[in-house]
Amino acid sequence: MDTLTFLLSGTLLAATPLLIAALGELVVEKAGVLNLSIEGMMALGAAVGFIVVSNTESYWLAIFIGGLVASALSVVFAAVVLLTLGNQVATGIAVGILGLGLSALIGQPYESMTVAPMARLPIPLLSELPIVGRGLFDHVAVVYLAPLLAVAVWFMLMKTKLGLIVRAVGESPESAHAIGYNVNAIRFAAILFGGFMAGVAGAFISVASTTLWANGLIAGRGWIVVALVVFATWRSGRIVIGAYLFGAATIGELLVQSFGLAIPSQLLTSVPFIATIIAIVLLSMDGRSIRLNAPVSLGRVYHVTQ
């Protein structure tokens, strides 16, 4: 495998779970809820997915069940945030820690085990292209599905009535309630969707990317996802760009090594996080874009009054 192929396929593999989880978080935040438990939900999805593959060898089932279990965890978050009006930041962090703990617990018997990688689905003709063919078009199906999912989420949010309602709830839950929408029901659905996507992303990492389970597998990727949504100023297109940029940054370490440069690996490992901070600072300067796309009620507790 030549260097370019390795880099391209590494970038796509690293970017795909970020993209999937970020699209889920985008919908949640657009509905006005800040869910900071992504890291824990991804970890739980990863552990569950790995266990399912180890026992059934069905990868699609593993990804699906991983999503389902993570969305079950998001029910806890939703209940605290929507019904008991808990603070979203504190609740998100607590549920995230719960998710990490649960993943360590159920993953304990599988620690350091590996599974066979998910079967790849090379795209005919395209994967035969010179130079980039193998790197871009010889992957598991989920890698191709992720950008399509981004288009679907964009279409849902910006072009459908459902998306309009979600955005309306995120901007002004009071007004949405006044017109007759059930704010909590819409937010609940959004949180479930976000949880499912985080679980899918986590399962993808354990069964299709690393193909091994180890406690701490997610390693901060959940937080990059949260940053990615802000970095993208809540726009699906920018989330796609951001996810692949971060994917490339993650693989940067390997790139530098392949050129034999003597840069400390700790520095390189921190590149995605430094990139996150810089990106957020730069993008925060575009006030108009943020004003138009940021969900105004984000993170604010909404109490239904009659």
Partner: protein, 528 residues
């Protein structure tokens, strides 16, 4: 069309001839502390513009909420098209054909007009565009369906609300204080729209406390006081402002007692050749503004809203600071204050009643006691940085008693007070600070007749005690009533002072469109 525009007085020819569209019989609604509606009866015919007139707290809002299905009456009957109905919720009210335009809009700023409207209907935004345009043309409500709501003026937003209401084809439209959010220039267009609605046989329930408007627009008026109907179905065109006001507040309108002003010679506050370009690109630049305010006089600043009043108030109050080299532009009691913040200005005896009650005049989420501490902390309410709670409580209680503020007590949250009551409280708080200079921006905006008269009387009394008072107001009548002299602000320019005796509406009207500026053709007084 021409005829309708010229027809200032409504023609009540249809009114009452047909069976009533809506009839209330003996509707009663009690809250824990207050009987909000006491045996209220009301009839509205199709095509009728019916006013409900009353002061704050007279029970107008409760009545409207009952009709719109938000509140259920304790007793009494609602008849819709002759049949007794129980209106369960707003959706049910809309299904029956009752629509409502709220005083506070429920629009989403980041969505387009069409998207906003589509949220209230089953249709998609794209399909609604033609109907929005069509309704806009038919009723004189021009608005771009593709515009984002945050870019619209208040008047345009109200049009969106009205269109949203009309798309449901209501037979009865309730409008809650619709003119309170509009500049004076926007009101004729709204009235034209309401008349067109009535011409189509739709009934309009017009909630207001502005007597002029009701006399100009409405066929009938129901007057409420203290939860009861005082007079059912008077013809407002046959009444005068005085007679309507007497019915509404139960006594004659109190006019402030005022003697001629005896101002001192030395100015308490001065603005000298101030030119200021605001940071906000949509703000108004102030050009060469000079102003002297002497102890013992009330100076008014008139003008169409948006001609620099906000910028001027922010500069005078210290919310906007001038650069240090312009320190001398503003002088308070002989001290240069251009770059001094509002705390320093307050230390010099300056007090301020801002236009916005929520967020500037008071913190809505805090109770009245805490709101008192915000500006009165240095008046014995704090000891070495620690709050003296009994003193703060006493201060708040005194404000409540002195200004006759209706609230549940000093521990009531500011947001729980009606606009008029909160304003009385804020004015009372500032007066109790014993200021030497008082700036009041729109002191009686949205305040009912009785409370407004009380506030004006307090201001006149304060003047007689030697306080220098500056009032910025959109309401010319208010200024003519209490100001000793007037300036007019137009596009950031301040007119020469007009003495009270010389102030007639012709001269002021001319000044309001820039007539005082040399070489200024009389243009529109619409802010750019």
């Amino acid at each position: 069309m021409r005829n309708q525009e010229l027809d200032i007085r409504p023609s009540p020819q249809n009114a009452g001839a047909e069976a009533p569209l809506l009839e209330l019989v003996g509707v009663t609604k009690a809250f824990p502390a207050v009987l909000a509606n006491d045996n209220v009866s009301l009839k509205i015919a199709p095509g009728e513009i019916h006013a409900i007139l009353g002061e704050n707290g007279a029970g107008k809002s409760t009545l409207v909420k009952t009709i719109y299905g938000v509140l259920a009456p304790d007793a009494g009957e609602i008849r819709w098209r002759g049949e007794a109905v129980e209106i369960r919720n707003p959706a049910h009210a809309r299904a029956l054909g009752i629509g409502m335009v709220f005083q506070h809009f429920s629009l989403f700023e980041t969505l387009t007009v069409a998207e906003n409207i589509s949220l209230a209907t089953p249709k998609t935004a794209a399909k609604l565009v033609p109907s929005i345009t069509e309704i806009g043309e038919r009723f004189g409500l021009p608005v771009d369906p593709h515009a984002l709501v945050h870019s619209l003026s208040v008047g345009e937003r109200q049009r969106v609300e009205i269109i949203r209401c009309l798309l449901q084809d209501p037979r009865l439209i309730i409008m809650d204080e619709p003119t309170s959010v509009l500049p004076p220039s926007g009101i004729p267009a709204l009235f034209e729209t309401i008349r067109r609605l009535a011409d189509q046989g739709r009934a309009v329930l017009f909630i207001s406390h502005k007597l002029e408007e009701i006399r100009a627009l409405c066929h009938k008026a129901t007057i409420m006081r203290g939860g009861k109907v005082v007079t059912e179905a008077v013809d407002p065109t046959q009444e005068t402002n005085e007679s309507l006001a007497r019915l509404m507040i139960g006594r004659d309108i109190p006019h402030p007692r005022r003697a001629a002003a005896t101002p001192a010679d030395a100015a308490a506050m001065e603005v000298r050749d101030l030119t200021y370009v605001p940071a906000d690109p949509f703000g108004t630049t102030l050009s060469d503004v000079s102003l002297a305010l002497r102890p013992g006089e009330i100076v008014g600043i008139a003008g169409v809203s948006g001609n620099g009043q906000k910028e001027l108030a922010a500069i005078l109050s210290g919310e906007t600071l001038l650069p240090p080299r312009q320190q001398d532009r503003i002088v308070i009691n002989g001290r240069s204050c251009g770059a001094a913040d509002s705390g320093k200005r307050r230390d010099l005896g300056f007090a301020f009643v801002p236009e916005e009650r929520h967020g500037r005049g008071a913190v809505p989420e805090m109770n009245l006691k805490k709101n008192v501490i915000l500006t009165a902390h240095s008046f014995g309410l704090a000891n070495r940085g620690f709050i003296k709670r009994p003193a703060a409580r006493a201060f708040a209680k005194q404000c409540i008693d002195q200004m006759d503020v209706h609230c549940s007590g000093w521990d009531a949250e500011a947001r729980s007070l009606s606009g008029g009551n909160l304003q009385k409280f804020i004015v009372g708080r500032e007066i109790r600070l014993g200021p030497k200079i008082l700036l009041a921006a729109q002191p009686t905006w949205g305040v009912d007749v009785g409370a407004a008269a009380a506030i004006r009387q307090h201001l006149v009394d304060l003047r007689d005690n030697g306080v220098a008072i500056l009032i910025i107001s959109d309401e010319l009548e208010e200024l003519l009533e209490i100001a000793d002299r007037l300036h007019v602000i137009f596009r950031g320019h301040l007119s020469p002072s007009i003495d009270r005796v010389d102030a007639d509406s012709a001269l002021i009207g001319d000044f309001m469109t820039g007539g005082f500026l040399p070489g200024q053709p009389n243009g529109e007084a619409v802010p750019s």
